[in-house]
Amino acid sequence: MYFATDLLAAWGLNLEYGVAGVLNFGYIACVAVGAYAYGVLTLPSPAVNGNYQHYVLGLHLEPAAAFVIVIVVGCVFGGLVGLVGRHRLRPDYQAIMLLVVAAVALAVSEADTALVNGNPGLTLLPNPLGTTGPTAGNGWVYVGILLAICFAGYFVLRRFSDGPLGRSLRAVRDDSDAALAIGKDVVGLRMLAQVVGGGFGALAGGLLAAFIGAWAPSAWSFSETLSLLTAVIVGGVASNYGVVAGVILVPVVLQQLSQFVPGLNTRPQLAADIGWMVTSALTIFFIWFRPTGIVPDRRPRYGVGRHRRVWSYAPEPANMVVDVPVHPPVSRATSPMNADSGVSQASLDAGAILTATSFALPRRPGVPAPTPSFAGPLLEVSDVVVRFGGVRAVDGVSLQVPAGAVTGLIGPNGAGKSTLVNALTGFLRPESGRISFNGQEISDQPAHRRARAGLVRSFQLSRQFSRLSVIENLLVGRQSHPAESALGIALGLRYWKQAEVENVDRAWELLRAFDLHAKANMTASSLSGGERRMVELMRALMTEPKMLVLDEPLAGLSPAWARRFEEALMQLRSSGIGFFLIEHELGIIERQCQEVVMMARGRVLSVGTMEELRMQPEVQAAYVMG
C-alpha cells in the first residue's frame, strides 16, 4: 500500500530530479495538493456534517472522477511551481525557491482554517471503494488496484523518462547551457518534467489520503521529501527500476515498517526515530560512495550485441565494419608525447583523414543543404551594445557573416569577442542593437530559438552531457525530434521510430568520419580534451546548422588535435554552412578565413583579409598593447 503510493511519488520525483535535474525540495507539496484536492472534491459540503470541519468546495464527487481531477490539479500545480524556472536563476537559488514554495504551502494550509481545515487537517474522506473508514475489509482489493495503477503509471512514465525525450531531459540536467546551444527548450523541458512529476505526486497523495481517510499538515513535512529523495538516490538516480528498489528499502522498510517495531515503554517511537536516522545516513552514504545508486541508470548501447531496445538500433553489421582510414588518424598516442612528428605527418596528409572516409555531411533525407533563402549575408549585426555595470563590453558592433565561408573574429583578451558571441546566440541580452539571421530579426528570440533557426554555437571550454554516452551526445542534437512532440509522447515508438533510426544512422556516419566510432558507447566524461572538442563539433553538426559560431575551438588543444580540427573545418567549408570562427591562434585564421573581423575594446577596429589587417598600424597597436 505505502509501497505503491510512495513508488508513484518517487517516480515523479525521479523524473524531476534524477532525469531532468530539477532539485525539488518542495516536491511533497505536490503530494499534499493531490491529497487535499481529493478531500475537497469528494467530501460533501461542510454543512452536511454540521460544520464539523471547514474546507472549500465540498463537491461530493465520485472518487474515480475525483482522481482524474487530482492528477490534473497536480500537473497544474507542478507547472505553476515550474514557472520559477522561467527566471533562469542559479540552481542553488532555484532549490531555495522550491523549498520555500513548499514552506509557504505548508504554512498556509496550517494557518488558514477555512481552506482545508488548518492544522487538524481533513478527516472522514470517503473511501474510493464505497465503504467508510480505512481498510474496512477490502484493503487487499485496494492494494491490488494500486499496484495496477503503478503498473499503468510505469508505462506513462516511460514515455517521458526513456527514449529521445528522456535523453533530452538528461542533457538539460547535465549541462543546461550546452542544451540551450543546440536548441533544447531548457525551461520548457524542465517544466514538462515538473508537470508530469506533479501529476504523479498528486495521484500518490490522493490515493494515500483516500486510503487513510484523512490528511493533515503533519503528514507532509520536509522530511517526507527527503525520504523520497533518499529512495531515488539509493535506488538509482534517473533509473525507474532502481527507484522501485529504493522505495522498498527506504520509505517502506525504514519509515513504515519501523513504526511497527515495538519501542521501549518510555520511547514508543524509538524504532521510527532510528529509522529516520538510518534514512539520512543512507542518503549520505550513497552520495559519498555510490552516487549512481543500487541500480544505475543504464544508457542504451548502440550497435553492439543484440539490440534489446529499438532505439539502440545500429546500421547493418556489414556497414559496421568501418572502412578504416587509409592514413592512420592522429591518435591520442601520438599527440601529447611526440606532437611534432604527429603534426608533420598529419600535415603531409592535410585533409586526408576526412576524405579517406569519404566525408560528406550526413543529412536527414528530405532536408536540403543549407542554402540561404535570402540573398544578403546570413548573419547581420548592427550596432549591438552589451553593458556590464559601467563597462561597455560590446560597444556598438556591426558586422556581417556570409554563408558558405569561414569568417574570423580576432582581438586581444577583453576585446568583447566572447561577449559578442553570447549576445549573438542569445545567452546575453544586448542593451540595444539588431541581430538578424537568415533575413529574420532574432534580437528578441531566446537562445534555443536561435539555435533552432540554425545559429548554433560552441563554447570556449567544451561542454558535454557528461552522463550520456558519446553517441547520445550526438543524438541529442537532432532538432524537433518527433519523440519530443505531444504526438510523439502520445503515440510512442511507432510515431518516432523512423526518425530515430535515421538519427542514429547520421550519428554513426559522423562518428566514423571523425574516427571516433570506437568510443560511441563510452560516457562523454571519459573523453580527452581533443575528443570532447570533436564531440561538441559533431553535436553541433547534428543540429543541421546554417551557421556555426565557434568560440576559440583550438583553446587548450594539442597541436595534433588542432590540426584535426582544422581539417574537419576545411572539409565542412564546402557544405554550405557559414562559420564564424573566434580564435587567438592566428595561423588557422590566416589559412581558413576569407574575411577577418578585428575587435578591440568592444568595437570593431577593422575588417579585411588577415594580410590586410596585419598591415594596419592600429591593429598592430591593439594586439601589442592589448
Binding site: A107, S221, M277, T283, I287, L461
Partner: protein, 296 residues
C-alpha cells in the same frame, strides 16, 4: 500608531537574532559555495545544548558563551569532516545540498533520540521591561539587541582590518585567485565555518531565550527565515544578511500585528519569493543570475 511602534520594537528584537543566524549562514555560502541546509539543525542543536546548561543551573549568558564555543568546534568538524570531503569529490551542487539536508534530518533525530519530542523552554522570567521612546522591550531583548549589534560591528571591523578578514573577503570574491595570491584558502574556509558556528551558537541560544517554547524541529522553519534574510540582503554578503535579517524581523512582526499572526512566517517567505523574482542579487549585489556562462 502604538501598535505599529511596538511591532517595530519586536521586529528589531527578532531581527537581531535572525541577523546573527543569517550572517553565519551567508558566510558558509559565500566562502565555500555550500547551501548548508543542516544549518537549521545546528540552530536547534545550540538551543538544546543551551537548554542542558540552563537546566544545570548556569546563567543564560554564560550558557550562550559556552554553546557558541561548542558550536564553533562542531561547525569546523562538520566542515572539515563532511562538507570539504564532499566538495572535493566534486559531486555537484544538487547532491551536496541533499547531503546537507540529510545531515539536517540526522542531527534532528539525534536530538530527538537524546532529548525526546517534548516541548522545552528555558523558563526565564521576562525581567524588567524597558520603555525606550515608544518601544517596549524586555531586558533580555535589549541585551540581545545590544549583543547582536556589538557582534555585527566587531565582525564588520574584523572584515576590514584584520588579516583573516581581508583573506575572507578575497576568498569569497574569487577562490582561485585568492589561492594564487598565496592566501591559504583552506584555513580561511575553516575560519569562516568557525565564525559561522560561533554565530550559530549565539543565535540558537538567543532564539531559545526569546521564544516561549521550542521542539526538535525549531531549526527547519527558522532556517527558511534565515535563508529569506540572506537572500533579501544578497546571499554571500555579510552586510546584506544583517540588513535582510532586520527587514525580515520587521516584516514578520509588523504583519503579525496587523494580520493573522499565523501568517507572520508566510509574510517572510513571500518577501523571499518576491526578492528572488524581482531582484535575485539582493539588496547588496551578489550574482544570482547565471551570467558569463560561456566565458567562465
Amino acid at each position: 500608531m502604538s501598535i505599529f511602534v511596538s511591532a517595530v520594537g519586536f521586529g528589531v528584537a527578532s531581527g537581531a537574532v535572525i541577523a546573527l543566524a543569517s550572517l553565519g549562514f551567508t558566510l558558509q555560502f559565500g566562502l565555500t559555495n555550500t547551501l548548508n541546509i543542516a544549518y537549521g539543525s545546528f540552530i536547534t542543536l545550540a538551543a538544546f545544548v543551551g537548554y542542558g546548561f540552563v537546566q544545570f543551573g548556569l546563567s543564560p549568558w554564560t550558557t550562550m558563551a559556552i554553546v557558541a564555543a561548542i558550536m564553533g568546534v562542531l561547525s569546523v568538524a562538520y566542515y572539515g569532516g563532511f562538507i570539504r570531503s564532499l566538495i572535493r569529490r566534486s559531486i555537484g551542487f544538487g547532491p551536496l545540498a541533499i547531503a546537507t539536508a540529510a545531515a539536517l534530518i540526522f542531527i534532528e533525530y539525534t536530538i530527538v533520540l537524546v532529548a525526546g519530542t517534548t516541548t522545552r523552554s528555558y523558563g526565564l522570567t521576562s525581567g524588567t521591561t524597558y520603555h525606550l521612546w515608544d518601544f517596549v522591550w524586555t531586558s533580555t531583548q535589549v541585551a540581545i539587541i545590544v549583543l547582536a549589534a556589538a557582534l555585527v560591528t566587531m565582525f564588520q571591523l574584523g572584515l576590514r582590518t584584520t588579516r583573516l578578514g581581508r583573506a575572507l573577503r578575497a576568498t569569497a570574491a574569487n577562490r582561485t585567485l585568492a589561492r594564487a595570491c598565496g592566501i591559504r584558502v583552506e584555513r580561511v574556509s575553516v575560519g569562516a565555518w568557525m565564525i559561522s558556528g560561533l554565530l550559530c551558537g549565539v543565535a540558537g541560544v538567543a532564539l531559545a531565550m526569546t521564544t516561549q517554547a521550542f521542539t526538535y524541529n525549531l531549526g527547519l522553519t527558522f532556517l527558511i527565515v534565515i535563508i529569506a534574510a540572506a537572500v533579501v540582503g544578497g546571499i554571500g554578503e555579510p552586510l546584506g544578511a544583517v540588513t535582510g535579517g532586520l527587514i525580515i524581523g520587521l516584516v514578520t512582526q509588523v504583519s503579525a500585528a496587523y494580520f493573522n499572526p499565523a501568517y507572520s512566517d508566510v509574510a517572510a517567505f513571500v518577501l523571499l519569493i518576491a526578492a528572488l523574482l524581482l531582484r535575485p542579487t539582493g539588496l547588496f549585489g551578489g550574482q544570482a543570475r547565471r551570467s558569463n556562462v560561456a566565458t567562465a
